[in-house]
């Protein structure tokens, strides 16, 4: 079915003959998230080709990593996907811990899980909200963004920062869950669900919303895998793959949750996958919190690690499931206190390179919808 829709999209698109208008969208444009730029060739409103140009936010994060010690690099990871900085932090911490060969105490693992799932909810809320805004529905955005603020409040209580969290440290987390979390979470769980319900009511079965999203940039699973898609984008194409299930890390193998998957890989499926994933994240937090409650109060939070980390020589790759997909850190150590080479595998990088294939033959409005549904974050893309 997905293939069918895709071929229809391509065959209805005109061929590359004739006079076309070059329309430059971005890097400064209200619908471009961050500093993205797409150079499109259009025939009227139909897109003949769309070439993304990236690098406007390139800050040389990998070069910086080679010149900073292992602990100093942690705050830099905040600036990758700034919508869910905690996932980047934890991914990096876990990669270094793998290199050092240390196991983090269970309490720290649970706190990491709770915080990461909260970050995932926040990230998805922003993505779905912005998708709505780009399609002209502004109201759900506010319902969702209010919930994100609540989540940020918890982050602030726990480690003092709202957006660029720099949570935890190599070897564990510094702080226990804040006291206020225990009373806040039951209330917040309901309010998150309510905001999602409201959004669902406003959008999901709205005829205009369905017209705008169903069948738009449909993508089949095989192509998606070949292009290196991961995360919600891949699951929307019907491939049930989630690193939390496939390569369990932390204590994800001890919690029970489903992987929502779509069928056609269109904008609607991506939206639905994200909406359903928020529900699953709430479920995971509940279970992780129950496990946390069973641990003694004075359980250790940090594994003892030396002040200056000198991991043994070697190279490792460790990936986690960030809200956008597989976020991996490749680290080569030469035995010194600085990594010899750090390579970040940003999930939206792989997705965005298929952009031309995704939007070819569709209309300018669909390009905007597609871009929002990909959730491309410039900080993560350009590094």
């Amino acid at each position: 079915m997905a293939k069918e829709i895709e071929t229809v999209c391509i065959t209805t698109g005109p061929t590359e003959v004739g006079d076309y208008v070059t329309l430059n969208i971005g890097p400064i444009h209200p619908a471009m998230h961050g500093t993205l730029r797409v150079i499109t060739k259009t025939d009227g409103e139909t897109i003949i080709s769309a070439k993304p140009e990236i690098g406007y936010l390139h800050r040389g994060v990998e070069k910086l990593g080679e010149n900073l010690t292992y602990s100093q690099f942690l705050p830099i990871t905040d600036r990758l996907n700034y919508c869910s900085a905690i996932c980047n932090n934890v991914a990096y911490e876990m990669a270094v811990e793998k290199l050092l060969g240390i196991e983090v105490p269970p309490k720290a693992q649970l706190i990491r899980m709770i915080m990461m799932e909260l970050a995932r909810i926040a990230d998805h809320e922003v993505c779905v909200g912005i998708l709505g805004v780009d399609l002209g529905a502004l109201t759900p955005f506010f319902y969702l963004i209010i919930q994100r603020e609540e989540i940020y409040e918890i982050f602030e209580w726990h480690h003092g920062a709202r957006l660029t969290n720099s949570m935890g440290a190599i070897g564990g987390v510094e702080a226990d869950l804040p006291d206020r979390f225990h009373e806040k979470w039951p209330r917040m769980r309901d309010s998150i669900r309510k905001a999602n319900d409201d959004t669902d009511k406003l959008l999901t079965h709205n005829r205009i919303w369905m017209d705008r999203t169903v069948g738009v940039n449909a993508f089949c699973g095989d192509d998606a895998l070949n292009w290196g898609f991961t995360g919600p984008m891949l699951r929307a194409c019907g491939v049930k793959r989630d690193l939390r299930k496939n390569e369990p890390y932390l204590l994800y193998d001890k919690v029970d949750f489903d992987i929502p998957a779509g069928k056609h890989g269109d904008v609607f499926d991506r939206y639905m996958v994200r909406m359903l994933e928020m529900e699953q994240s709430v479920k995971i937090i509940d279970q992780a919190y129950a496990m946390y409650k069973e641990l003694p109060e004075d359980a250790p939070l940090m594994k003892k690690v030396p002040k200056i980390l000198r991991p043994p020589a070697g190279q490792i790759y460790h990936a986690i499931e960030s809200p956008n997909g597989e976020l991996g850190f490749f680290i080569r150590s030469d035995g010194s206190d600085k990594p010899y080479r750090i390579k970040i595998r940003p999930p939206c990088y792989m997705v965005y390179q298929a952009f031309d294939d995704l939007v070819k033959g569709e209309m300018i409005s669909d390009l905007i919808a597609c871009l929002s549904s990909l959730n491309v974050i410039a900080g993560e893309l350009d590094r």
């Binding site: 209200p30 002209g136 529905a137 506010f142 406003l202 959008l203 300018i364 409005s365 905007i368």
Partner: protein, 346 residues
């Protein structure tokens, strides 16, 4: 008072009144949307932020007036007034109340009762398209020209179903004068319903309302602007009060369109089942009819706001599809049935 003085007062009054509604409308839009979105909205300038439109006006007037270097200067300057003025002018033929007796003189609450008021409104709304197209063309920007082209196609396409819906009313009432149409809507229909166009022409009303939203460039039909795709469409390059005129013209358009809706489908100034003129004095009756009209109009203004903050936006081809494949055939069928019924019953 001489007749021309009365006419002048009426013109100034209705011009100021439409202006005030439009200004307050910008405030209502923000406060209402804020209410819907769990926000507060502007609440700093004056009580409840009521002076916010004034602050905006001052801001727009004092901003630097920039004309892009490669823009077509004359057309660029001509665009905004060409869009805003027809919206104002259309208000001239709208009966905003019945009549009032002051000093023994009977004054009709309408600037001029043109016997082709209907066509006048349609013609003016066709002229307003030029404001958008000229603005988009003169800016010399790709986003603007796309917006301008979208505006042309959209407004012209939706004028057809709108005209078809209005024709049914003309068929039923046998007149082009708006005042006559309002007068014919008094009394009851089928014995128990108010004799409103809405009950006689429900399908025509729906077609008209959808077309009106498209004519007003509002969500879900705000494609000529479409902030997330075309930056802001035809007025991307505009700034200061030229931009203000475009934005303001849009609100005046809303005021006019909701007034037309009330006139044609909701009995204008008359109340259902009650004849106000029987128990009210000549002066108070005039004032009462004016306010009845205003409250009906306010409801439709609020409906515009309500819809805007609820639904997403159409895509361009879907918009055209809705216009040509759904509304126009429906309008034709509706017109045919109405004509048949009118022929059979008279």
């Amino acid at each position: 008072m001489a007749d021309w003085q009365i006419e002048l007062i009426k013109v100034v009054f209705i011009w100021a009144w439409a202006l005030i509604i439009a200004v307050v409308m910008t405030w209502v839009e923000r406060r209402a949307s804020a209410m819907m979105q769990d926000r507060l909205g502007p609440n700093r300038a004056g009580p409840f932020g009521l002076l916010q439109p004034l602050a905006d006006g001052i801001k727009l007037f004092t901003k630097e007036d920039i004309i892009p270097e490669r823009a077509r200067k004359i057309l660029f300057v001509l665009g905004p007034p060409l869009f805003a003025l027809p919206a104002f002018s259309a208000y001239a033929v709208i009966p905003f109340g019945d009549k009032i007796v002051i000093g023994g003189k009977e004054i009709i609450l309408q600037v001029s009762d043109v016997n082709i008021g209907f066509l006048f409104i349609l013609a003016l709304s066709a002229i307003a398209v030029y404001g958008l197209v000229i603005g988009g063309w003169a800016s010399n920007s790709k986003y603007s020209i796309l917006g301008g082209l979208r505006a042309t196609a959209q407004l012209i396409s939706y004028e057809v179903p709108m005209g078809l819906a209005l024709l049914t009313i003309v068929l039923l009432d046998g007149t082009f004068s708006l005042r006559e149409i309002v007068l014919q809507q008094q009394g009851t229909f089928l014995g128990f319903l108010p004799n409103w166009g809405f009950f006689k022409q429900p399908l025509g009303f729906i077609i008209f309302l959808v077309a009106a939203y498209a004519e007003a460039n509002r969500v879900p039909f705000d494609l000529p602007e479409c902030e997330s795709e075309l930056v802001t469409g035809y007025h991307t390059e505009y700034g200061s009060m030229r931009l203000g005129l475009y934005l303001f013209g849009e609100y005046v358009n809303l005021v006019t369109l909701s007034a037309i809706t009330v006139c044609l489908f909701f009995g204008g100034w008359s109340l259902p089942y009650v004849d106000m003129s029987k128990f009210l004095g000549p002066v108070s009756y005039g004032i009462a009819s004016f306010f009845v009209f205003f409250f009906k109009q306010a409801f439709f203004l609020f409906l515009f706001v309500w819809v805007r903050w609820t639904v997403p936006r159409f895509r361009y081809d879907q918009l055209m599809g809705l216009g040509w494949k759904a509304l126009i055939p429906l309008g034709l069928v509706n017109l045919f049935i109405t004509a048949l019924l009118v022929q059979l019953t008279t």
